[in-house]
């Protein structure tokens, strides 16, 4: 027999609801913790959402963050943050720093004069310094961007909910959306906990996660619907376990291939995109978890209409009419 790598053995029979108060409870607790984190620690908003200027400097010689700070302090910026960026691909002669300056203007971006002053001051500290990128966003736009981002996540949730409601039943769409909210909250919570840069690309990552997580859930629901038609009398909870066991191999398989691809990007993709990839990778893991432990619990609580072959009893004409049929 040929060798086959199987992370999930054939014919598993795991009771996914056995620990449901722990697993589901853990999910709910994680959601609460995330909300608390977001409100207490806040998010490390990038300039897209907060306004301001970031400058990425590169230099062949090592530098001290303190020296940069001293050079820029004289220019009198109230909100100044300098961080050194590390990446395995940089090697010995590449030293990168990100400098972030809070917004100074009411509508526009940082002025050309200030930018020239900053560049001149840094040149004095390190004559070999180059400016790889300079980005600046005015508070007017950043306010709108954050609003748009909220709308985007909301619109995506609603759109997915509507589609699932059309294709399945409303209970399924509620289950899916609860698990989506779960995924989004946990990912945002992670960004708050580690103070990763939260900007427009993070929103893109969140939306992708939504699509992915839902994709996972839908495959399970699709099979559940099939089983509901096949086994008309077995209890819902049993069918859900059966379905999850049947699709478990696929769920794990896809999570692993996606995880492999994203991990490659995480390691070799460079520091510019790293936070974006972290958001997606975490989203994939959480999405996989919520498929198994969140979405179905909601559907179980809400219950589903069982007999898919008959019309809705409210719509069917009279019960006697059915009875007369052979």
């Amino acid at each position: 027999m040929a060798f086959r790598l199987k992370l999930v053995p054939d014919n598993t029979n795991i009771d996914f609801f056995r620990w449901q108060w722990i697993t589901f409870g853990a999910s709910m607790a994680a959601m609460v913790v995330s909300v608390i984190l977001i409100f207490t620690m806040g998010l490390n908003f990038g300039i897209d959402f907060k306004g301001g200027t970031t400058i990425r400097t590169e230099s062949p010689t090592a530098f001290e963050v303190g020296d940069y700070r001293d050079a820029l302090n004289d220019l009198g910026f109230s909100d100044l943050a300098i961080t050194e960026v590390f990446d395995p691909s940089f090697g010995q002669d590449r030293h990168v720093a990100m400098i972030r300056i809070g917004t100074t203007d009411e509508t526009g971006s940082v002025s050309a004069d200030q930018l020239n002053q900053i560049e001149a001051a840094l040149h004095e500290v390190d004559p070999q310094i180059t400016f790889a990128s300079v980005e600046s966003v005015g508070p007017k736009v950043s306010g709108e961007l954050i609003k748009t981002a909220f709308y985007a996540v909301g619109a995506a949730c609603l759109g997915i909910m509507a589609y699932i409601w059309l294709r399945f039943e409303w209970q399924f769409s509620i289950g899916c959306v609860v698990s989506l909210i779960h995924d989004v909250l946990l990912t945002v919570g992670l960004f708050s906990l580690f103070q990763l840069k939260f900007d427009l690309t993070t929103i893109a990552a969140l939306l992708t996660t939504l699509g992915f997580s839902c994709n996972d859930t839908v495959v399970v629901f699709d099979r559940l619907r099939e089983n509901l038609m096949k086994y008309k009398t077995r209890p819902l909870i049993e069918l859900m376990n059966l379905t999850t066991n049947e699709t478990l191999s696929r769920t794990v398989m896809t999570a692993v291939t996606t995880g492999i691809a994203l991990t490659a990007m995480l390691i070799f993709g460079g520091d510019v995109i790293r936070d974006f990839v972290i958001a997606m990778l975490f989203g994939v893991v959480v999405g996989c978890y919520s498929t198994i432990y969140v979405a179905k619990n909601i559907v179980l609580w809400l219950g589903v209409k069982r007999d898919w072959s008959k019309k809705d009893p409210k719509l069917a004409a009279s019960p006697f009419e059915n009875a007369e049929r052979p």
């Binding site: 054939d10 790889a132 600046s136 839902c214 994709n215 291939t257 390691i267």
Partner: protein, 554 residues
């Protein structure tokens, strides 16, 4: 489901071959790009230099030559988001209305009495007449200047909103007219910015209107956003005015219809000028950098016939008088007219270096912006950083693909290899569709491709898992495969539609890199469904027909 018509097979293979064909130019990115540039250059100028011909011949012209456009974050360049101060135009309109209106009202001075303009907020015009009982007549005259506005939404609206109070009339543009004006202002601005950027000759600039009053400008390959701002941030409104006097007091009170403007290169010198210009920059036909008699950089310009006539008549009548050349409310120079200038040509000189003279000539040729721009967002990405991102993206795509292929083969054996071929072809198809569509690849877009490598196998995994189950249920090989494909279909479609919804939302609400990501993701969804359902199935059918297997270990 295991029979596929011959024409369908040809179609599937044909699409794949076509896809590979259109993706190939991306392997020779630089060469194809210089080929395209050379072709465009030869077409534009009609001159074929040896260098251009060599660049053109670097890539055979019968091969596809469209390549994926690289976003700013990969190529490097500058990105600006500007907001047009549309309200400036309201003010200009009102200021232009006043002299005409004054003339019309003055004709009936006998009944209306004295007329004067009162100070009022910008964009409004407040007029006071002496005889309050004649206000109805005055309003009627003002109304004569209002024209009906035709808009899509409402007909019958007037261009002026007129308010009467006691013996004053306040006039401003009506909301309908403002909307029409805003639209025109932004469109004109886009047009003029495009002309200015084109003059500099960078490749594929993006200049699009965004929302009501914003303009997005992306210029790849330009050194910095500051450079771009210098080019498009200047209004470049050029006028020639007669000089009333010179002084050092910025607060000097000008007479009616006069303005005090500073000199551009002499600090502390202020000119009092007639406000209505003799000639404006709109009547220029050409402007080129040149040198003045002292060998200093200058700009030579020429007027169109009307401008030339006005300029000639004015200079003939004012010999010995100074006149001012005004650019964006600064007096660049105020030479004394030595003789009439009938030919309609002239020179602007002042303290400028050659670079500035060149820039001014560009601005004058392209025309003045109707209103000033505020910059809300600016980004500069250096070309090295972009190249680093491309390299990192390429490396991680290759590693990701290799790892996924290895995992798939380890899990499904031969069928895993089929899925792997599909995945690799999927990436090729994404690139070729993006090349054909002229879609832009951004750094998040590369991440999108890598993600697609991971998710594209999903459809195949769903199918294979299903086939496994069918086999376990004791079905024959062909039947199991056929049922596996059939049963998996609805799950595949549903799963991809949800991803598609998320991508569509990103496309409509996102901007720049996020939009690029959404495009890549959407194309990836379509191609992955195609490769998983059609291509993998075709490969499996070929294998079935060839080997006629009795049993299958999956």
């Amino acid at each position: 489901m295991l029979q596929i018509d011959r024409w369908k097979r040809i179609l599937i293979v044909g699409l794949c071959v076509l896809g590979i064909g259109f993706a190939v130019p991306n392997l020779f990115y630089q060469r194809v790009e210089s080929h395209n540039d050379a072709v465009a250059e030869i077409e534009r100028t009609g001159v074929e230099t040896p260098e251009l011909a060599a660049a053109r011949d670097g890539w055979p012209s019968w091969l596809p030559s469209s390549v994926v456009a690289l976003g700013l974050d990969l190529r490097g360049g500058a990105h600006l988001l500007g907001e047009v101060r549309v309200a400036e135009v309201y003010k200009a309109r009102m200021d232009a209305l006043w002299p005409e209106l004054r003339r019309a009202l003055a004709d009936e001075r006998a009944t209306l009495g004295a007329i004067r303009r009162l100070p009022s907020p910008e964009g409004t015009l407040k007029i006071e007449i002496e005889n309050a009982d004649q206000i109805a007549r005055a309003t009627e005259i003002v109304r004569g200047f209002s024209t009906p506005v035709t808009t899509l939404t409402g007909a019958g609206q007037q261009s002026l909103a007129i308010q009467v109070q006691g013996n004053t009339i306040t006039i401003q543009l009506s909301d309908a007219e403002k909307a029409v004006t805003d639209d025109r202002t932004v469109q004109q601005s886009v047009e003029i910015i495009r002309r200015r950027v084109d003059e500099v000759g960078t490749r594929e600039p993006t200049i699009v209107r965004q929302g009501a009053d914003r303009i997005l400008i992306q210029v790849p390959g330009i050194g910095s956003a500051e450079e771009l701002k210098a080019l498009i941030g200047t209004t470049a409104k050029l006028t020639f005015n007669s000089v009333v006097g010179t002084g050092t007091n910025p607060d000097a009170r000008p007479g009616v219809g006069q303005v005090v403007l500073p000199a551009a290169d002499q600090e502390g010198i202020y000119y009092t000028l007639e406000e209505s210009p003799v000639v404006t920059g709109e009547e220029l036909t050409n402007a080129v950098p040149g040198t003045d008699p002292n060998g200093q950089p200058a700009v030579d310009f020429s007027f169109n016939p009307t401008g030339a006539r006005k300029f000639g008549a004015y200079t003939a009548a004012n010999i010995g008088q100074p006149f001012a050349i005004v650019l964006d409310d600064q007096v660049i120079s105020a030479p004394v007219i030595r003789s009439a200038i009938p030919g309609g040509t002239g020179q602007i000189s002042g303290s400028m270096d050659y670079e500035e003279a060149n820039q001014l000539a560009v601005l004058l040729r392209a025309g003045a912006l109707p209103a000033q721009l505020d910059f809300l967002e600016e980004r500069t990405i250096g070309p090295e950083l972009g190249q680093d991102s491309i390299d990192a993206g390429r490396l991680s795509s290759v590693i990701a693909t290799a790892a996924v292929v290895a995992y798939m083969i380890a899990s499904y054996g031969l069928f895993g290899a089929f899925a792997s071929i599909s995945v690799i072809l999927n990436v090729i198809l994404i690139l070729s569709i993006m090349s054909m569509m002229g879609a832009t690849l951004t750094l998040p877009g590369i991440a999108g491709i890598v993600l697609t490598v991971g998710t594209a196998v999903d459809a195949n995994v769903i199918i294979y898992e299903r086939i496994r189950e069918e086999l376990r249920a004791g079905k024959r090989v062909a039947k199991a495969i056929s049922d596996g494909f059939d049963e998996a279909m609805s799950a595949i479609i549903d799963a991809n539609v949800t991803s598609f919804i998320a991508a569509a939302v990103m496309f409509f609400l996102g901007s720049g890199p996020v939009k690029g990501f959404a495009v890549t993701l959407t194309i990836g969804l379509v191609t992955s469904v195609f490769t998983a359902i059609f291509l993998t199935r075709l490969m499996i059918i070929w294998w079935l027909e060839w080997r006629k297997p009795k049993e299958l270990i999956l």
